[in-house]
Symmetry: D3
Subunit: 314 residues, 6 copies
């Protein structure tokens, strides 16, 4: 069991535990010899490491994204912590608790999934009902859907984050779906459930949360549309127009080109889905940010991306 | 009773009915004589007019924003309709139906107001409860609040629009208020009810909807804060901190400086209020826009401000 | 054969020829009766029309996008030309020359296609070669590819425009492909040939060039990726990584999110493809714009989108 | 008297002097025990500190913003200076010289205030004259007005900065006020004197310059308007229109929404006030920035906010 | 003497007077014959004209920018006034009053020039003094400098506008030049006098104000620098560094790249010159705009470029 | 010969070699004594240094931009390397290899120059031919042109970079020049060769690459136009119009005001030159960036300016 976490490590500490190998570069010294530059991670942060001796042997002990057991000494170099690594070997898979390496939702994944299924069961439109069944009877899909994070950093950036975010939106739609006239509730709910499924392939979270190659090259909007295209084939006579307006929800859910949607929302359902998605992402992200701070302070530190301090003090 | 509406008028028509005098300029011809350039409006649109004869007499018959009875002939000048006005006199107040001049919500104002009061009655926090009472026992305020439009054009741009928009937000908060943890529901609801009250003074809608001088010079955010400052004095021992976070909801409800808020949302309640306000304004505005179009068309005309066509066709 | 073209029509003319029915709205007059508001187009422009009499009968004579034969009288209304339509019937298909309704490239489509095939034949990489074969042995695809316009307005906005633009880029790549090191020339050329194929479905040009519903809701980037996904299935063992970097060329070819690409170019091939695409679109669009002007003038009129006058005078 | 200033402190130094307690967070170590994370400031900079022992006792010795006397040892941690604090106690108020903690204008505050009063005495318009009297006979106001900084960082960021900036603008108006026709000079001067008074409450500078809660939540534009509303009540029959155009100067003085003004300048006086304010802030800020640099260098270091180097060398 | 001005012309009027030929295009009708499309201007506006008969003869009677005497009839075409031209001949130069065609400052050009010379005479720095002498003893330069407009539209858009704008800035600098320390007053004043001289070549105003080819292709900033380069050669031993900082004032006087300056202001003099230039342009432009409106109205019409209404009503 | 390079230096190392003196500031300690703050550079990076003793003597040993021989000890201060300098003396010019201090193209400068001359020799237009001859028979010009870098950082940031970039563009134009109709190929090629010559004076690279004073104050666009103005005088009867369109290529080659061009491209040649310049700069800069990374990694680190990771992995 892992006992040493990166956010507790100080200069002078001896390193002796499991970490995710989140970076690995073989570099050359002036004298022609190689050395290894690595990055170690766990759910609390990252730590730079260097290997000066036994370079080839140590390099062979782990590939990028492996969980490895390392020994070394921590010092400070140019103002940052750095570990000189003496030994590295693969961690035994039976001693690995993935939860030590990647943060996870503090909500019950099974319960969240059950609640989402219950909300989905209200859908009457036959083709949407069948499409969601096609997805949720696909074990590989369900396994990814319940595990994927919803982001690398900003909001729901943990295992189960995609499910948590999707469920939160589904609940909001359940409660307010009839508030505005002219809305096709079944279309809206189906779109909400599927709007971010491209993130299952956009991210990888085996040992740390990061974009996959596919995610960086194609974006979850394009990936999600392709996933829907595939599943629609399994539904007999899925109406072409319904496929268009459903995929439009995925294409437009970021709200504008500036935020990555090739087309902006052009139906009432798309306008509403974008508004609810944006609201839910902001509320989760800002709340998490506020809750990490000292509750005795009146203000959070400066939030670089949102360019402001938030007010805690009440 | 008014029978002639501007959107039905064609070149060659004789003009003979009541209109709002929405523009009035005394100009000089080259020969030194004056002529009068006017604008006539009703709830269906606007029409340019000119007075060549009896200028002083006709000019004396009506001030800007009066409802006047005019006689004239409609022709086309430089590609637009234009009426040459022969006679003008004040309309008798007993024959004026304000609904002929300014568009009005198609919902029941009394019922909307009652429902809003019912939602407000859930507020437990004493100082917010008393503050809202101070507003809603002020007859002049209630009269403005239930009549004001929420905008000149984009959304809820009709008599009763402010109330309709406010109620819509209050209902959304009633339904979803407990969805996110860490929210002070009473603060949020009070903020939602008061967030746009500055519009009561920002607009004038006696004979057509337009900004008031005060609205153009100060903006409803600044006006609204001043209105709250005044009413807070009527509540004994209103806590200073509660006044700050409440006024912050008004100051920040447009979401960013670019949209006119001197400060962006810095509390969870402010983030949520901005999201709900934005969603409600967009949904109302876009839905109205779509509903004005030919239902047999697949697409609306281009929406200049939102820079897209919307999809109707289903 | 069509003889009357819209850019030659003046007030007072009698209308009696074939036009594309590019707009059609049934509206209601105040008296409760219906009238028909239509738009007529040919390759030289558009003309508004109204039908006051025999409305139902005339409306039944043509659906949106049909080529119809109309009779009417042209006048001026509110500063624009307007035709009062007296009669309308379907045009006989044997008298329709599509070239009268939609502008067409002045280059030889067959010759352009042959030249593109010749350039493509230089591709050595087996999977890209096979993929392009799969596309170019698909008759329906070829038919669309050689006919589609590349835009509604800005550049190559005519029948054959997609092919002309694609060929131009292929020639540029043929000539300069080896100029920069580190480029996979086969990938680049394959990407250039396929980068805009989504436009085959994004546009419709049966009787006038316009976006299709699919185009407005999904965008040609998303459509193009789906088309490639489909065709890749026909190529045995198409390498997954090659599919990723190829589709990345489609995803990123607009250069940035602001211009509609969900991801910006992240490979050298993608950076180069975007640069060549942008250069070719600008050169074609600006040259066409300059060539439409009076050659005796020194400057073009103001180009609203590019926000400048261009210099002709030499 | 304070002798040790932060910009002179080096690793290895013993800390033994008075500092402003500008940050204070009680945090938990892994072992469950608490430690204290603090920030110490004086007019020359800030220094991070930690308390490992006697945590509760030391924490009780000072609240945020107190001036405290500390003992400790300075070392380097993760590339920054850090003091391990051994002891802390309140500073005796009689040994505190506020000037040691907050930077102060190098001009004479009394003389500046007298000169401003002299310029103001030229105002003839009775209601503006009385309004300024109401402000300047209010001791609490005068005390704040002559002490407040005009900013946290960019320009006039020191005690007396608000007065210095206001006086500079008043002098410019005195000299150039009659340069442009159509200007109400009394309105302009009154607006200039009051345009930034909201900063008296927007900032706090007891022991270091920072935004107050009120400042961050409401912004000095909203605060300033409220201050004027209050004082106007003390002036009998203050004309409503004059109040509007005066408050418009405050509302619009940042020039555009992007810079925090809910409305842009809409009167000639507002346009001119914004121009003079902007000019004076830039000239003061850039001049201070240049004067802090080595006069033997040709160029200043890069100015991050203004995104350029400035040229010194002459 | 010209008696007919364009802003007084109505449909049905007979055209018979002198106008500037501000546009001229020979176009082809479908039948292969040519017609002439022209634009006529005077200081009050522009009027479109067409020539159907005697095309070659009429075309030969005037070149672009000539003042011509025309005969014709005014009607309305597609919502705009249009004159059918029957005859055209060159105006006799002795009957042309340039002031009828191009608007002119209402101030005395001689008096303005004298006052500017007086202010300049305060300059002590020998090389700047000599440089200005070199300019102001160059008759061609003086003739252009005292006649050129400062803009096509926005501000000082009339004969003498460059001088008026330059003088206004010089007066402001005379009055406030010593307000800020660290300023080289002679450099600043020289820069102010020369900052816009490129406009002498950027514009042409022989018969209407428009950009010259040189102006559109090179911009007055680049032209102005070249003019200074030329004149500096006439001053013996002009110090190189002084030339650099002087030309920097021209290069940077628009304040930022977004406004057309290749480099932003990097000296205190450049920062101040940009601020004063911007203030003077805005004050002149907005004041002119307000003064053109009906003084009985409270608000101007919407100013498209500045995106607001201005408040007149006092 | 220099043996010690900055990217190899570690805390604890003894410094004893030649470096460029790239920064030098005399500062004052609290005790009134001076110390010297310096920056040392070579082609691999920069290193901060301080001089505590013998300050005046050491300061006298080298001026900014000199190559000096220093002795000192390297330690770490506030997270960065810092050398305490014990001795400094001028380097003997015979032991200086400029290539040790400023990076240089890895291509053969003589061969590149010859190839450029060959391409230029295709120019037929007499005045452009003569203008280029005037430049390339000017030894001082050729010496600068073949040595100057094309940028400080982003692309071609090394000795010979301007030539390499110019040649690359000339080759692209040679290969594709006839691809688009309506292009004056001789104008385009002349413009390409001269578009960046202002960089010869914009940069200085005697001991490290940096902007010159002239470059920062005037920008290479303004400098380049002046250089052309000078040389054109040496060509008899250079046509004025040709000078305009040629200089327009220099003025507009950055494509828009936002990127530093006072006017955007307004001729086809200018549009094409801007496209090719932009493409070549991007391709060189991104390729260099990718090639500096570990080839075993799939992705480069984040590119701050271009805001993305680039994909290496194939």
């Amino acid at each position: 069991m892992k006992k040493q976490f990166i956010d507790q490590i100080k200069p002078g500490d001896t390193l002796m535990d499991m970490f995710a190998l989140s970076g690995k570069n073989m570099l050359k010294k002036k004298d022609g010899n190689s050395y290894l530059d690595i990055m170690l991670s766990d759910r609390t942060g990252s730590l730079k490491g260097v290997v000066w001796d036994n370079v080839d042997q140590i390099s062979a002990a782990g590939a990028l994204r492996d969980i490895v057991r390392v020994e070394g000494v921590v010092s400070e170099y140019r103002g940052n912590l750095q570990a000189v690594i003496k030994a590295m070997k693969p961690a035994a898979s039976n001693e690995i608790d993935p939860g030590d390496f990647v943060p996870k939702t503090d909500k019950d994944i099974g319960a969240m999934f059950a609640r989402l299924q219950k909300i989905i069961s209200s859908i009457q439109t036959s083709h949407f009902k069948k499409l969601l069944e096609a997805f949720f009877t696909d074990e590989a899909f369900v396994s990814g859907f319940t595990a994927a994070p919803a982001a690398k950093k900003m909001h729901h950036a943990y295992i189960g984050g995609l499910l948590e975010h999707t469920l939160s939106m589904a609940i909001l739609i359940e409660k307010t779906g009839k508030h505005y006239g002219g809305i096709d509730g079944d279309l809206l709910l189906t779109g909400a459930v599927l709007h971010d499924i491209g993130k299952i392939e956009e991210f990888q979270w085996s040992s740390f949360i990061d974009y996959s190659d596919k995610g960086r090259l194609l974006n979850h909007i394009v990936i999600g549309c392709a996933m829907i295209d595939e599943k629609i084939k399994e539904v007999k006579d899925f109406p072409e127009k319904a496929a268009l307006v459903l995929k439009h929800l995925i294409v437009s859910h970021h709200g504008s080109r500036a935020f990555g949607s090739p087309e902006p929302p052009k139906t009432l359902e798309a306008v509403l889905l974008n508004a609810i998605d944006d609201m839910d992402a902001k509320m989760n992200g800002i709340r998490e940010f506020i809750m990490q701070q000292d509750p005795d302070e009146s203000w959070t530190p400066y939030h670089r991306l949102l360019e402001r301090h938030f007010y805690i003090g009440k």
